[in-house]
Symmetry: C3
């Protein structure tokens, strides 16, 4: 193999991913604003990223790009003048996209603006209010319960004004044959698994892809959830049509087993590739059917696009108690889990990269492998080595209707073995790639 396609070192990638998460954790991201923009600038130090700015008010299908939100400070002061809630301690304390406010009000008036988790009294929830003008604070239930009656002073020093929605796009051109879309929402504040882990995996994949020859082109998007994918799709319908495979990345740093959620199509190549890779890893995993809820696959898989985009996760959104709380912190994600996710994602991309359909140049009977040195010389043994079985499978099923992934699945062999067999047969002119 002449291509520079050495497998990247996953353990190193996992450590680098974790380091990036640590750096980005304190930033107060939202769907627009300085936090999101700063995050993209940090990513630009890792990979070649175009940053796009879309003005407030731009129509994107049924939606409108919202005002830009920026926050400087926020707190709640108790009757005794002490801070009871402080944005500087955790950016989760403010409901994302809160309108600016400076008021004094009674606890009773304040209460509807306070969000807590009675079942998890020490955790701060993460709440948003993107599309309705309101404000609020999130705090631990323990704190909420301890608040005395009296007058409270609240400050949210934020602006919600015409500006831009920002997103980042890294395009890595390949030889052709359709694009691979990788997408991660990047709009969450101090939450590690959801979705700094996804961001860090997208960065690591982009970096490894950058360093290698590519058959496919890759488009890696760092976008605000929902409105970001809608904006990208609205502005890039032609590019969307070139997407042949796609993965949304999210929640890839926790200790849970790997989970792949199928695209709406259910049997796209990426669906078969992910199932193949996860099955051959030999460890517990889960394959979920598509549901129109979750991350930006909701938009990519809307009926007017129906792109073949699945979602790679460890524990899915909403299925771990720490989800969307202050407990989704730097202790909840680990370099080794990030490394494991990187390894699986890379293997899936390798299948997408190298999957191909061939036709046998000798479809009538087997070609004589022995005289080409492709078959052992003494006959009569009870079994055949796996690689020779791969050669026979590839020859038998290369009728233009089975891609290598289908051959691997029917043969029960890993894709890498089948691919190697096919490439060797092609070198001996026993296969021709079908364009």
């Amino acid at each position: 193999m002449s291509r520079s396609d050495a497998t990247p070192d996953a353990a190193t990638a996992g450590r680098e991913m974790f380091a990036l998460i640590e750096e980005l954790f304190p930033v107060c991201r939202s769907i627009t604003g300085a936090g999101f923009r700063d995050t993209l600038h940090r990513i630009q130090r890792e990979i070649d990223l175009d940053v796009h700015e879309v003005p407030t008010g731009t129509r994107v299908f049924d939606w409108t790009v919202p005002r830009e939100w920026n926050i400087r400070d926020a707190w709640v002061k108790g009757p005794d003048g002490e801070l009871v809630v402080d944005f500087r301690a955790s950016n989760l304390h403010v409901v994302s996209y809160s309108v600016p406010v400076r008021r004094t009000l009674s606890l009773e008036e304040l209460r509807p603006h306070l969000h807590s988790l009675p079942d998890r009294p020490d955790w701060i929830p993460y709440r948003t209010s993107y599309y309705e003008d309101t404000w609020g604070f999130c705090l631990t239930h323990r704190t909420l319960e301890s608040l005395p009656d009296g007058e409270y002073e609240v400050l949210i020093d934020a602006t919600l004004e015409a500006g831009h929605l920002t997103y980042g796009e890294c395009f890595l051109p390949g030889e052709g044959g359709g694009d691979v879309l990788i997408s991660c929402h990047s709009c969450h504040p101090s939450l590690a698994n959801d979705n700094l882990s996804g961001i860090s995996l997208a960065v690591a994949l982009a970096r490894s892809l950058t360093e290698r020859k590519r058959r496919r082109s890759y488009r890696i998007l760092f976008i605000p959830g929902t409105i970001g994918s809608i904006t990208w799709l609205a502005r890039n319908e032609a590019a969307a049509e070139r997407v042949r495979h796609g993965l949304v990345l999210s929640c890839v740093g926790d200790a849970g087993r790997l989970t792949y959620k199928r695209s709406r199509r259910g049997d796209a190549v990426v669906d078969r590739a992910a199932a193949h890779v996860l099955r051959h890893r030999g460890v517990d995993h889960e394959i979920l059917d598509f549901v129109p809820y979750g991350y930006d696959e909701r938009q990519y898989c809307s009926p007017g696009f129906d792109l073949p985009v699945g979602c790679l996760m460890r524990t899915p959104n909403g299925r771990f108690p720490e989800y969307h709380t202050s407990a989704d912190d730097l202790g909840f994600v680990r370099p080794e889990h990030l490394a494991d996710s990187f390894r699986a994602a890379w293997e899936i991309l390798q299948v997408l990269e190298h999957n191909a359909t061939y036709e046998s140049t000798n479809p009538k009977c087997e070609p004589q492998l022995g005289r080409r040195g492709l078959y052992r010389r003494t006959g009569g043994h009870a079994s055949l080595p796996g690689y020779e079985m791969a050669l026979l499978w590839v020859l038998n099923l290369s009728d233009g209707r089975h891609d290598l992934l289908a051959i691997a699945d029917r043969a029960g062999l890993p894709f890498s073995v089948v691919r190697e067999a096919a490439e060797e047969l092609a070198e001996h002119d026993l296969l021709e790639a079908r364009v």
Copy 2:
């Protein structure tokens, strides 16, 4: 919802069904004759029923409408002159369609004309001989065993003469979009579950449908088994072509679990609707594949028609010991089982009535539900309420290729929830019905 489509009260329906069964139980029905005609006249007091008379000798496909059978009396007198078998005690005592007879004969000569159930010595079997000229009596095995040798006098005071085959048809026109066929054989004498229960369910459904607005048209048939459906099909080929869904009703009053037998097609809308309704009821039930035996689905599903007609039952024909015996009496059926069958049948009809295929008017990305008040305002929660999931499923799958039933099945949600979501989305012009 402006339509008067309140769900009928099943408990009341069950009590009324049982009362009708009690009234009709004593009548000696057969495939033709006064008993069948009297039964239809009783049903006419409940619903708007057309009674059709087809002359003896009419060719109906491969068959010929038989002579009309009417019976006044029948008995067997023993050697001592006492009645040992008496039609007035049970109309099951006479083999249905027996030719008239008045003879004296030995027990040995009589024996081949006597039918009993050795395994159930206290039950009288139900036997017929429609298409061969013979006569016979049915009696308990205990009585049979006790008959002394000697001379027996037998009387069957019946007529088998040119007349008519009678059937009843209730047509309830709807807005269009294909007819729903409901069919029950009504030719059995004093047997409660098979098939007075089916008759009573057909009557109850017809009455509830009569009182409501209808999208579909409904055609409810009360016919003699086999020859009745053949006769109806032979005379109504154009109407048969308009049948989009159908249900044969039988054995719906016993204590067994509900059973649905699929149409020959196996995947007709009625098959999917019945499976959906039975699954979502959350109680034990059974779905059977089509077999060309059972009730009039045999004719509706013959290859030249292949109508999408399934069969709703509780315990199927031949699977309960009381089947076709005197033990299938008024104690074997209960108002609460009838009510339960009514409820299930009504739910199936509701699916057939309201199932539709839509296309999203915003197929590219999700429409913004929040600004239409269709989505909760604060984001970040771990899960989505079922109704909002239904909205997303309907939007995602309304591509003109999925009907609401398919969406409900894929979403794992009850049809009623999906239907409500679709109707609300249509009100907001987010869906358009596909004609």
Copy 3:
């Protein structure tokens, strides 16, 4: 039924098959040469067999017909002048297709030419070297271990010269409707199960088919493995196109359960027929998916032919320890296992012979079976006899799209019952065969 299609006696067939195996066991067969030719001449005493000779050097697709190999004697003499390996004791002792050799050499030099089975120290392995010029001996590991150092004299008195590849073909013409191919490799020396059992089964089937009227034509091939089927296919492409069903026979004499390996298509009639027959026998059996390894189905199922050819075995190749060793001897196969394989193969051929697709002449509603004497006269019984169910199934599914085998499978009835029902219905003009 007027045809002379009495079922042959399997027990007798089993005994005759075993007797033939005993006779052919000592012959030293290889892919060419006198042993193969002698075997065909012995078979010609049983059936009408054409023997074909194809010259060395003939191109057959990607292959070339090899030189002809004939061996007269072979041995290894130890340092003391005694024979330590003697071809006359077992023809497995010589690697098949060894080039002639007469040398004296040290044990160290001899070692690479000696093959044994360390795990089975008392068995001689079977090894071949068809397509590389080398020589070798096979011996028990116990003998190998006991060889003292010193000078050894080796002799292989063989010729490897231009000649012919020989194969036998028995063609039994039928009324039409496509050919059935039966193929067995016949190139193994003293090995009983692989493949004298396959040869003996092919002979027994050919003899029974010869004696009977046939709808289909049958072509029974006795060929050297791989190169034989490639040669036949290369010379008979037109005949290959007429093959509608096929069976490769091998390893049918051991005590294991019956195994059927599907054709590459997986759902060919022969695949459904074999599965049907094995399932209805009510004893343990196995159905395997196609893999491009095994016997000559590899060639018949190559993508350029993709013939519907499966493989009937008991324990498959490579799955029994005796495979390709001296332990696959006359004690390893039994007349009763051969008889059982014959019975199953015959039943499969009967399905292929009699399977047909009909159309009902009365597709609208059931025809009246009673007046044709095809239905019992008294009605009301709880269940229907299997034969009457078969009549109803055949009528219901004879729409031109279901063959009798599909009807039998859907009805859960044996093919023979469904076939009998169809033939009786056809006699009553209720079915018409679809050409």
